[in-house]
């Protein structure tokens, strides 16, 4: 792959990798730092990437490894969880009632996702937000596709329980 091809890869995937990292890290500054590091690492290694490799899954895998390393530090983990609670997105400006409920649900889901165990959070975000297949998710997490699927299912169960706890699901179902 030439330098130009790498640039094409950056412009094709930077936005998505940034958003993935922002979702799993919860802090825009960390997402910025780790997305930079993801592509710098990718640049160092892309020459050895097989021609038929799934570049998108490979980038997610690098970003996921960096995220795992990031949270391995106990102090950073504390900071991250503290920030998560403070950074849950809030509704801005006037909005119709239905939209308010939808925003509230979205914010709650994001809040619950941030508090999931790391592997569930990573697997859930890769699968449900970015649509990666379980094989790719398993590779990035260092587990089988089956285990990756179990992480996603666990996450969805916890989110459902969380929303149920706020009465949002029963309200929605009654309508």
């Amino acid at each position: 792959m030439s330098g130009d091809r790498f640039e094409t890869m950056v412009s094709a995937h930077h936005g998505e990798i940034y958003r993935y990292l922002q979702r799993v890290l919860g802090r825009p500054d960390d997402a910025d730092d780790l997305s930079q590091e993801t592509f710098l690492r990718a640049y160092r290694a892309y020459r050895s990437l097989p021609k038929d490799a799934n570049v998108r899954a490979w980038l997610f895998s690098i970003a996921t490894n960096l995220t795992k390393n990031h949270f391995r530090s106990e102090s950073r983990r504390r900071v991250a969880y503290g920030e998560v609670r403070a950074s849950a997105p809030a509704a801005v400006g006037p909005a119709p009632e239905a939209e308010l409920i939808s925003r509230e649900t979205g914010a709650l889901v994001e809040g619950i996702v941030q508090q999931l165990p790391l592997k569930q959070r990573l697997a859930f975000t890769q699968r449900k937000i970015h649509g990666l297949d379980y094989e790719a998710i398993g590779q990035s997490l260092g587990c089988s596709a089956e285990t990756a699927r179990a992480h996603v299912f666990q996450a969805v169960r916890k989110i459902r329980q969380g929303l149920d706890g706020h009465g949002l699901l029963s309200e929605g179902l009654e309508r």
Binding site: H14, G15, D32, L40, A45, L49, G106, V156, I159, L169
Partner: protein, 322 residues
């Protein structure tokens, strides 16, 4: 222990998979049948569907454009810096010992005989400021193959793009470029290179510049010799390597009084600026002013670079017999 009925527990995973749209057709059908009779699972199923809907809404949220643009701009700056610093290396075990080859995006940057080990830490690059090394993942395989072909005498040219970033000065860069033009099977004195670069008196500076040649073999400093024909200086004091490289090209060498030198009487000669190559005994040399001669191991080597046989001494009619 869950207080759910066994049938509900059995179908729990399929139920969730169906709600997420991931169930196999058979499982989806079983879930459908179960839901028709179980209100509790129906509620659970609808709960999962609601989660799926909320997540879909999140997925469609627009990206934070301003932050993204700033991040991308910063990334491009850092990538440009990394591109300048990053060199990919490969260590090639060869008949001349372990040789490290490194390349940048522009071309081959370093060919180095490793004499202090067989890893990258033995390389001068490990101390070079502003350089980051990364191991080759296959990009240098063809280059390594060509190098081994060359050292095995099965190839005469190494036509690699070169990056002279490790040259220490503009003068050294000029000397290296002049040296790169010395043909296969030829030798020229340091004084000849000095003349080539327009600094006829700078013979010692040329020798010094070639002492730090970052691209030996491919920039053939082994083809530059002393005025007396001695193989002075190579990769430190490894005259033996220089002799082996010249022997590969058919350049005759011999040891005299402890020094290794070429055998000029066994080589064809070219006066600077001429287009005809001569026998070493050509009478035309008696009429020329003394000048550093380029010498060729064979007529083929001379003619491969477009030279013609001298019309006075006729090396074509009276070739040197080895």
């Amino acid at each position: 222990m869950s207080d759910k009925p066994a049938g509900c527990l059995q179908i729990a995973d399929d139920l969730l998979a169906a709600a997420l749209g991931e169930a196999a057709p058979g499982a989806a059908h079983r879930v459908e049948q179960h839901l028709a009779t179980c209100a509790s699972c129906r509620r659970e199923y609808q709960g999962y569907r609601a989660v799926d809907g909320a997540v879909t809404a999140l997925r469609d949220e627009p990206a934070p454009a301003e932050r993204l643009a700033r991040s991308l701009e910063r990334l491009e700056t850092r990538l440009a810096d990394l591109r300048k610093r990053l060199l990919v290396y490969r260590i090639v075990p060869s008949p001349l010992g372990h040789i490290l080859i490194a390349r940048s995006e522009l071309g081959i940057t370093l060919v180095e005989y490793l004499d202090r080990g067989t890893g990258p830490r033995a390389s001068r690059l490990s101390h070079e400021p502003g350089v980051e090394l990364t191991e080759d993942g296959g990009e240098l395989e063809a280059v390594a193959h060509e190098l081994l072909e060359y050292l095995g005498g099965r190839r005469k040219r190494l036509e690699w793009p070169l990056d002279l970033r490790l040259a220490r000065s503009d003068f050294q860069r000029t000397v290296l470029q002049a040296t790169a033009a010395i043909p296969y099977g030829a030798v020229i004195p340091y004084a000849g290179i000095a003349q080539e670069v327009g600094k006829a008196a700078a013979t010692r500076a040329v020798a010094q510049a070639l002492r730090w040649n970052p691209l030996p073999i491919v920039i053939p400093c082994h083809r530059v010799i002393g005025s007396s024909g001695d193989l002075t200086g190579y990769a430190g004091h490894r005259i033996g390597l220089k002799q082996r490289l010249l022997s590969l090209e058919g350049v005759p060498t011999a040891k005299h009084a402890g020094a290794v030198a070429i055998a000029p009487r066994e080589m064809y000669a070219l006066y600077p600026g001429e287009r005809e190559y001569c026998l070493p005994t050509c009478p035309s040399f008696e009429t020329h002013r003394p000048a550093p001669l380029t010498r060729f191991a064979s007529r083929e080597d001379a003619e491969a670079v477009g030279l013609l046989p001298c019309t006075m001494c006729r090396p074509d009619l009276h070739p040197i017999s080895h």
